[in-house]
């Protein structure tokens, strides 16, 4: 055996650590998502080192599942354990200096796997070779769109400036949209729900067609929320908060919990069913249904078309800027608040600039490739 070969015991401990790590909750903020993605990459690097590493992981995963499935732990007296645990703690704090034990704990709570975990990445051992074979990441540049056929036959059309990571297993099809927008045409598979996660929402489907848009942080319209538009079939949606986590994994949600179609209604934490022709925004605060949505407009981007209906000029410019490296910057709050309706080509920001020049008393200057629009 080579000296640098890790011992059996090391691999056992490392494999167990990875199972414990991957079993933790899914990320619920962009920062956590980045850490989570980095973790997944580290895991794949680790497991690829040798067949022994793969075995180390699979043994740990197997043990984890056996503890779960056999229900052998049902006779454990948890109260007795808790009493012993609190007795231990008291003993420790009294045998060591009691004054220091009153000092507030200083360690920072790590939030990597914060918030409840019910949609598990490894759902009773779903993670296996399958996940390694089918774990991928796709990203698009500004203005780029990408058509991807997923391993299960589902289709994903990725819009401009977007990023997804997905892992398919025998139990579920998990897609993480960390940024941007995607249209999904999900292949029907009753046994494997198709779950789309964003930093603010969870969407669960079996076989359907729907669009998911994660609004960028700090956007004026729907900043840091997710808009889901359903074209065919039904999906379940819930906020990325601990209260609603469990519900998305459950097979069905009664439709009585639905919020009435009224945008003025406060967001609801309860998970909701969203049917064809319906649209909702999901933020950390909850789910808000849109009163009279036009879901066809929501997917006009497929044809690289932008559809505006009484949209503020600020949001119109932001929309153009998603698709083009040449940015339109409007430096006048009054003009930003004016509204615009119509259908425009996403690739032609110069048309917006021309419109603004004609409709308002503005002066347009070029700064590099960008347009700066100011009041004259």
């Amino acid at each position: 055996m080579k000296m640098d070969q890790p011992t059996d015991e090391t691999l056992r401990a490392e494999g167990a650590d990875w199972v414990a790590t991957l079993h933790g909750s899914l990320p619920s903020s962009p920062a956590e998502a980045r850490e989570y993605e980095a973790n997944c990459r580290h895991f794949i690097d680790w497991v690829r080192r040798s067949p022994d590493h793969v075995a180390g992981f699979l043994y740990a995963d197997d043990a984890f599942c056996r503890l779960n499935g056999l229900d052998l732990l049902s006779h454990v007296d948890i109260d007795e354990l808790r009493n012993r645990y609190s007795a231990n703690i008291q003993e420790q704090s009294s045998s060591f200096s009691p004054k220091t034990s009153q000092r507030p704990r200083r360690f920072r709570r790590r939030t990597l796997f914060a918030v409840a975990a019910s949609i598990l990445l490894i759902f009773a051992g779903a993670i296996s070779f399958e996940i390694l074979k089918h774990s991928h990441e796709y990203a698009t540049a500004v203005g780029e769109q990408l058509n991807v056929k997923l391993p299960d036959g589902s289709l994903m059309l990725l819009n401009t400036k977007s990023r997804v990571w997905f892992a398919f297993s025998a139990q579920q099809r998990l897609v993480y949209l960390t940024q941007g927008e995607a249209l999904f045409e999900v292949e029907h598979d009753q046994k494997r729900p198709f779950i789309v996660l964003t930093p603010s929402a969870r969407v669960r489907a079996v076989g359907t067609r729907f669009n998911v848009y994660q609004h960028p942080e700090g956007a004026t319209a729907g900043g840091n929320s997710t808009t889901v538009s359903v074209l065919e079939g039904v999906v379940q949606i819930a906020s990325q908060t601990s209260a609603a986590v469990n519900s998305v994994t459950e097979p069905s949600v009664p439709s009585e919990t639905l919020e009435s179609a009224d945008t003025s209604a406060p967001p609801t934490q309860a998970p909701a069913r969203l049917a064809a022709g319906e649209q909702a925004s999901i933020s950390r605060a909850g789910v808000t249904r849109h009163a009279s949505p036009d879901v066809a407009d929501a997917v006009a981007w497929r044809d690289r078309v932008l559809v505006f209906q009484g949209t503020s000029i600020a949001d119109v410019a932001a929309e153009y800027n998603r698709y083009n490296t040449s940015q339109v910057r409007i430096e006048d709050t009054d003009i930003e608040q004016r509204q615009l309706s119509g259908t425009y080509s996403a690739d032609r920001p110069e048309n917006l600039v021309r419109y603004l020049e004609e409709a308002f008393p503005v002066a347009v200057t070029r700064q590099g490739n960008d347009w700066i629009v100011r009041r004259r």
Binding site: R12, A13, G15, A16, D17, V19, A20, T21, H23, G24, S25, Y59, A60, D62, A63, F64, R66, L67, N68, L70, D71, L72, L73, S74, H75, V76, I78, L81, R82, R84, Y85, N88, I89, F107, R109, R110, T111, L112, F113, A114, V115, A116, A117, S118, S242
Partner: protein, 85 residues
């Protein structure tokens, strides 16, 4: 041969598993039971134990590692005896 045999085996396995569990520190025992049996999240377990979720993850990893050793031994023994666990 009797119909009771599978139940006996089950009870025996449970008994043994509890003994294996007792080989772990108390906090680690609570963490793995809460996670596997009760379906608690690391956050929830962290609150019960008064530690960080990160520490809970360490407990879970330690417990898994402990049980891997046990299950591998069980599997080796049953392979020798030609019995499925």
């Amino acid at each position: 041969m009797s119909t009771a045999a599978p139940i006996d085996l089950q009870l025996e396995a449970e008994d043994e598993l509890l003994r294996v569990l007792e080989g772990l520190p108390v906090a680690t025992q609570i963490a793995i039971v809460r996670s596997r049996r009760d379906g608690w999240t690391y956050e929830q377990i962290a609150v019960e134990l008064g530690v960080t979720p990160h520490m809970v993850k360490h407990h879970i990893g330690r417990a898994i590692s402990h049980f891997v050793a046990y299950f591998r031994q069980v599997d080796r023994e049953s392979a020798e005896q030609g019995v499925r666990p």
